[in-house]
Every structure is written in structure tokens, then in C-alpha cells.
Subunit: 349 residues, 2 copies
């Protein structure tokens, strides 16, 4: 009965998230979750939370979490915006800053074109080079969205390249999505003070082992944050729930634990990358908590199917240019050993 | 630097939520929070939650909470949609079902016109009668939004009136927002099976003492729920956070506690209404957890200012037709006694 739907609801094609299989005892390397639990201090914030306080609304100004993020980045709350995951933050940013003719790479987070369609914002895709690096000097439009490191390639760019993009798009907002930056890219956060067109977006899903809590944030100059608040307050009257704010605040304050986890994941990634390379895989240089790999002799789909038959989930995107690649999240050393052993089994069959 | 903002960000006027004062020892009767804590079973869901599980994303299909709501309403998950508070659910519903020319009363939840502006949906306001009842037979447009009981008046309508609206708007979606229904209106949920154009929206903020958790939901036939999912999945890739889902599920399953709390609040409301009437207030008949009152001899603003000076917060809307009314949330008996005493002080000055 399509007669009840708006024109938009009839026309949009939603984003599809990676599967969350219900089976136990699987090895889940398909959605870039962190294999380690949140820190003890984070879990204490949960267990110490006064549930009776849930009867009250959270403070509309974003309260505790916003203040904690500001403190962590040594900045003011007027530079901080929080949302229900970085996806929500990015959605608001599209709505707040873009009217059309924006640009992002042809191979990047597959939600970028979905938001453009949702808000009826026209966009151009900038083709990555054959080695999947970004031709930075060609990024020029009425709004730019960049993931650094890029996903699903994992390739990071430096701050000088980010500055090049900011300078050549002076009159438009450049969004730098740093969901994976903790695993191998310099954050552009220190550039916020110098560039009125920079919005840095981050999430606690990967770096802070809190994918289930749905917390993201943005850093930018107050005129950008105010616009995000304006859109948010026209959409949902309150910020993140009080409990998520409390837990996220504790996580963000506990940088030592999360930095050590990131180091561990980077070491596991490098070991896994080396092993997969030795099997004949092309492994793109990754600054993220995943590797993006392709084998010249075997189809990505077949490898994925075999892994899945053995209870190991990885992600495959059936998209132009990358349909023979697999994105493999970095798990624990044990999980990666199991992955490598199973890939080896497949290749030796 | 407005040059960075989208046309929309430059033009919208956000909704303003009631204040959440930081001071302690105040009596907060301004945002319709429930004065009682969540039930013991709800708090056990919080204390028993395995924080380590937060490293994983919630299941994209809405998982546990959706299933619990379906079970509670004796229906299927295909009839249920969940969101970050009923505000988010309502925002998605506007986007999914309305293209323009919708209608809602001139005096109602002040977020309704804000969503219309956000999504560029034209609307007509239906003037309430002088006694603030809705001229039901005049509700005819390309989409209807009704709050039942209405806010901030508190006046409820019956299911037969809801059916009249559904029948005279057969080809368009009718949203019935039941945020306050637990305190004195029949839910339209049982009508969902018979009316393909009905979307019932509810929240756990008031009835389930969980304003701080930001959980809302909608009930409708699958073609409506699918459209909501489509819009949501084009906006944010995951549902409510796992912890909120767990706690909300426990709350919804514990109907006995919350029904007894609602009864208590209704009894307190009737007592307070009687007392305020005896002071010369016009107290509208309320089916909600607040009363909407006006005094012929004293200005609402002055009463509010005096109450606030005594640490008691109530809500005043500086809007046409209701600028001499105050909306007073129903607190505990003790809180209402303090309110009544303070109002009496003011009137006797």
C-alpha cells in the first residue's frame, strides 16, 4: 500500500549494516568491532549508575559527556556536539552544512551517498587512484566528506593533506570522519581552531569498545556546532540518554586503557597482514582496525563463503572496483590465528 | 559566518525543551517527568547488564526491545518500530508519511510544527474550540497528527473519535501520539489491525519513569513500519543502544508496577486539581500527568515567577490563547502539597 508513504520513503535505498549473526561461538570480523571489552573504569561507571535518576530527562545542553569531551580535547563545550553514534552526527552535519554539489571518494563509507539521497543533496564521486589513494588536489566542491583512515580501504592520509583540502575548499565545510583514526591516523582535531570550515567526527564504537552504546561526537568551531544543535533540536529534543553519557564520559576519560588496546590491535593487524601477504594476498596498507585484502587467484566471495562455513564472518562489498576484496576486522591474536588457519585451509584445498 | 550553513540550518527555529535546572532541592514540575523511580525489575536489568557486551553493535533489526513490545501488545515485531525517544519516532514518521498539507490542532505539542518545518512539509492548524476540545469532524488533510491526551491541555478523546478521524482520512496516515495515555486515555493500539493508516506512537519517558533513557516506539501495520525502518536505516545504521534496549524491555514487561504508579499519579492529580479549583483556578479536565490551569485574577507569568523563587518549576508557554495558562506536572503528594501551599501564599499576598 505505497499510497501512505511520502515521496522520499518511496524512493530511498537505505544503508545496510553488516550482519549481527545470533549464533554463539562464531568469530565475528565483519563489523569492525573492538575484540576487547570496555575498560574497568568504564564498566564501573555502568555498575555505579543510579538507575533512579533515569526518571529525569538528560540536560538538553548535552551535559556531562559534552563537558568531558571538551576537557579531553582541551577545548570548550561550544566546540563539541554529541550524537547517537557518529552516523547520527554525520546525518545532522549533511543537513546542517550541505545544499548540493558535494564530493567524496568513489570508494569510501557506503553511508555517504545514502545521506546525500536522504537530504536530496547532489554529489560527485571522486575516483580513487588505482592504488586506492585519494587524489587530494582534485577534492574541490561545495562540501567534502572524507574518512581518515578511509573505509573500507584502511588507507590514511596526513594532516598536511587534510590542510590542503581545507584550504582549497575555504567556503565550504570539510567533514573528516575519524571513526578509525585511533588505529593509525593523526586526528585533525588540533586543526579545528585554525579552520572555520573543519568538522571532525568521531565515534566510541571502535576505539572505545562501545559499539553497543551508540555514541559519537563532532568537534568544530562554535558556528558549526550551533548549526548542528539547531538541526538536532528540530529533530529530537534531548541529547544522548543519561546512562550512555555517563559510560561514554568514563571511557573518554580513561585514555590510557584505550590507547594500549589500540596498540595491541595494531600489532595484531601487522602480524595478520604479513601472514596474509605471504599467502599471496594484496593487503592494502591499513591505519584502521581492519585490513582490506584481495587474492589474485581466488574470488573474494568464495573465500568469504568458506570462512562463513567455518563460523568466521568477514565483510564483502559487491560494489564496482572492490568486489574482489574482503574487509577483515582485526580481532584478538587467537581469532586472527583461526582466520589465518582457515584461509590457509581454503587456499590449500 | 553563516556562509557555511545549509539553507535549512539558516532558516529553522528549533524546539525548546523545558529547563533542566542544575540546582538541588528544587521541585521540578516543568517537564512531565514521573516522580517515581523505575521499578525494581527495571533497575535489576540495569545492574545485571553485562557491560562487556557493549563492544558489539546492537542487532540492526531492533532485536530484544522490539520483540518485547510486540509480545506486550500481543502482536508481531513487524508491527513495531523503536526509536531514541518518541520525538525521534515522530520525526521519522513525518519524513516517511507526509509530503505536505497535513493538519494538527493550533494548541498541541509545540514540536509538531517544528518537524513540519524541518522536513519542509506544509501544514494547517485546526483551531481548538474555546473550551480547548478538538472539533474532530474538521480534522481532514493529507496527514494528521494528534496527541491523545492532548498536550499541554491534558484533554483526552475517546477511541470512537479516533476512528472518526481515521475514517475521514482513509488515504493518509493519522499519527496518534500517546505519550500521556497511561494517565487517562484509551490506547488506539487495538485499532492498528483494522486501520492501515494508523500509527500509534508512545514513549517510556512518562509512564515508565525513563525520561533519561530516551526510548519511544510506534505501532502500525507492516507497510508503515517498513517505511519507518527505511527512513531510519537511511539516517542511522543501528537501533537503540543495547543497554537502553535491555532496560526498556524490562520496564515494558513489568506492567503491574507502572500501572500502580499511574494510578497513584492520577489520584494525586485529582486531589491537586480539586484544590487548585477551590483557589479559583480554571483546571482543564486532564487525562495526563499534568494539569493545565489558569487564574482569572492573576497572571500565569507572575505565579510562575513566584513559584520559581520558591524553588518550584512549572512550565509556561508564551503562545497565543494559552499565555495565561501554566502546565503543572503531577509530582508526589508531598510535592503537590508544597506547590499548593506556595500557590496559596502567592494568592494571599
Amino acid at each position: 500500500m505505497p499510497k501512505y508513504l511520502s515521496r522520499k520513503a518511496k524512493s530511498i535505498t537505505p544503508y545496510t549494516a553488516g550482519a549481527q549473526p545470533k549464533a554463539k561461538n562464531i568469530i565475528k570480523l565483519n563489523t569492525n568491532e573492538n575484540p576487547y571489552p570496555p575498560s574497568p573504569a568504564t564498566l564501573e561507571a555502568l555498575s555505579g549508575f543510579d538507575g533512579a535518576a533515569l526518571r529525569l530527562y538528560p540536560r538538553p545542553d548535552g551535559g556531562e559527556l559534552r563537558a568531558t569531551i571538551a576537557r579531553t580535547y582541551n577545548t570548550d563545550i561550544s566546540n563539541v556536539f554529541c550524537g547517537n553514534g557518529s552516523d547520527e552526527v554525520l546525518a545532522f552535519a549533511y543537513d546542517a552544512f550541505f545544499d548540493g554539489d558535494i564530493m567524496f571518494p568513489d570508494i569510501t563509507y557506503s553511508f555517504y551517498p545514502v545521506w546525500a539521497d536522504l537530504f536530496d543533496i547532489s554529489y560527485k564521486l571522486l575516483p580513487l587512484r588505482d592504488d586506492f589513494t585519494i587524489p587530494i588536489e582534485q577534492l574541490k566542491a561545495n562540501g567534502i566528506v572524507l574518512s581518515n583512515p578511509n573505509a573500507p580501504t584502511g588507507i590514511a592520509i596526513g594532516l598536511s593533506e587534510i590542510e590542503t583540502v581545507l584550504k582549497s575548499n575555504k567556503d565550504y565545510v570539510v567533514i573528516v570522519d575519524e571513526a578509525y583514526a585511533a588505529f593509525g591516523a593523526d586526528s585533525a582535531a588540533p586543526l579545528v581552531a585554525s579552520y572555520p570550515n573543519l568538522l571532525v567526527v568521531n565515534t566510541l564504537s571502535k576505539s572505545h569498545c562501545l559499539a553497543g552504546l551508540r555514541v559519537g561526537y563532532a568537534l568544530g568551531q562554535p558556528h558549526l556546532i550551533d548549526a548542528l544543535m539547531s538541526i538536532k533540536d528540530s529533530f529530537n529534543s534531548y541529547p544522548l540518554d543519561s546512562l550512555a553519557q555517563k559510560i561514554a564520559s568514563a571511557a573518554i576519560s580513561d585514555s590510557q586503557y584505550y590507547e594500549s588496546i589500540a596498540k595491541k590491535i595494531i600489532a595484531t593487524r601487522e602480524r595478520a597482514a604479513e601472514k596474509l601477504s605471504s599467502f599471496g594476498f594484496n593487503v592494502l596498507p591499513s591505519g584502521a582496525n581492519f585490513v582490506f585484502v584481495s587474492h589474485s587467484a581466488f574470488a573474494a566471495k568464495d573465500i568469504k563463503a568458506y570462512l562463513e562455513s567455518q563460523g568466521i564472518y568477514v565483510r564483502h562489498f559487491d560494489l564496482p572496483r572492490i568486489s574482489n576484496y574482503l574487509r577483515i576486522s582485526i580481532g584478538t591474536d587467537e581469532q586472527m590465528d583461526a582466520l589465518i588457519k582457515t584461509v590457509d585451509e581454503f587456499l590449500s584445498k
